[in-house]
Structures are given as C-alpha cells and as structure tokens.
C-alpha cells in the first residue's frame, strides 16, 4: 500500500493537469480576459475600436507618451501642480503634486471594457468631474519607498 501511494498521487496530479489544460483550451476567454459569452473575435474588435477612439481623443504627444512610458498624465483642473498618472493597463492611478507622489487611487468601471476605454474614462472624469472621481475612488497612501521616486 505504501508503494502505491506515490503512484496514485502522480496519477491524480496528471489527471488534474490534463483537466486544467482541457478547460483552458475549451475556454479561450479565460486566457484573453474576454467576458463570458463574448466571442473572442468580438472582444478583439472591441479592443481595436477602443484603441482607435483613444488615439482620436488624445493629443499626439499624449498618445506617444502612453505608448512609450505606459501612462498618460492628466492635469487637475482644480488643484495647481497636481497631475494624475493613468496607466495604459488596469491599475492604480498615481497622484502627484509638485512632482511628488501624494496618493494612489483605485477606481474602475463596473463593467469589463477594453483597457483603452478605461484610460479615456479616467481622463474624462478627471478633467470633467474631478470631485466626483475623487469621491468614488478608493485612496491609498504612497508607500515610503515611492516617496523617493
């Protein structure tokens, strides 16, 4: 019996690996962050549309900055020297004042939409509705490490 246990464990592990691979292949949405019931091709088209809209809405400089640095800077319309760094992909928004990080924010759409549209939402909300944006967002202090960046 003692000799059988390692063999049984290996067989069980093998079965789990095969089951996991089968599930992953049968559910491509899991690999590409596609919403359930949304076809992969539909999701790719949505991403392309969102990217095109973002390119249209941003200045050439901002769009190039986003591609090169991975974020855009949106100036606060209400607080001088404050700017928001909005990342290209989902993540916290870092807030800087006079060049120093002061806090980070977590705010996101309630529905899953392409990342490029998320960038546009942050920009529009900061520029057009900053107080509401800050009211909704969860705020986080900057870590001691970030203060030296």
């Amino acid at each position: 019996m003692g000799e059988l246990l390692p063999i049984l464990a290996q067989m069980l592990f093998g079965l789990l690996v095969v089951a996991g691979l089968s599930w992953s292949l049968a559910h491509p949405s899991h690999r590409h962050n596609v919403q359930p019931h949304q076809a992969h091709s539909e999701w790719l088209a949505a991403k392309a549309r969102a990217e095109h809209l973002l390119m249209e809405m941003l200045s050439t400089e901002d769009y190039q900055h986003l591609a090169r640095r991975g974020y855009i800077e949106v100036r606060s319309p209400n607080v001088p020297e404050r700017c928001y760094r909005v990342p290209k992909y989902r993540g916290r928004i870092h807030v800087y004042e006079a060049g120093r990080p002061v806090m980070s924010l977590c705010v996101q759409p309630v529905h899953h939409i392409p990342d490029a549209d998320v960038v546009l939402i942050h920009k529009l909300m900061i520029e057009g509705n900053e107080q509401e944006y800050l009211r909704i967002a969860n705020r986080f202090d900057v870590t001691p490490f970030r203060q030296y960046l």
Binding site: L53, V110, D117, M125, I136, A137
Partner: protein, 75 residues
C-alpha cells in the same frame, strides 16, 4: 454633424445626427439613447478638439461630440 459615443464591452457604439433642418428624428433618437444611458448610471461628457471634456447632464444637440462612459466604482 453631432456624434454620440457610448463606451461598453463592445468598444464604442456611435450614433450620429445632423444639426441641419430636417434631421429632428435623428436628434430625438440620439437624445433618447442619451437619457437611457444616464438613467442607467452612466456619465456624459461633451468633448471637442479645442477643450478638455466637460460633464453634461442633459443632451446637447449642438455638441460636436458626446462620450458616455459607464458607471465607475472604487476598486
């Protein structure tokens, strides 16, 4: 030509209307969609090339472009 763009999981859906006379039906349809989206919790911004986005709460048929974004929440 006015343009309403609604962001969703499909990317953006665009509705256009003409601001000249005789296009009242297209304007009404755009306004109906606008109200429906706002009632669902979305937020609308008037956007133009010359200025930053401006939040609006009622439909502006003379806007160059209106972008409707889905509700957001703290993460």
């Amino acid at each position: 030509m006015g343009k309403l763009r609604i962001l969703s999981k499909l990317g953006d859906t665009t509705v256009q209307w003409d601001t000249t006379r005789g296009a009242e039906e297209a304007v009404r349809e755009a306004e109906r969609i606008f109200r429906q989206e706002i009632a669902a919790g979305s937020t609308a911004f008037r956007v133009s090339a010359a200025a930053p986005g401006e939040r609006i709460v009622s439909f502006d048929p003379h806007a160059e472009q209106i972008v409707i974004v889905p509700r957001v929440a703290g993460g």
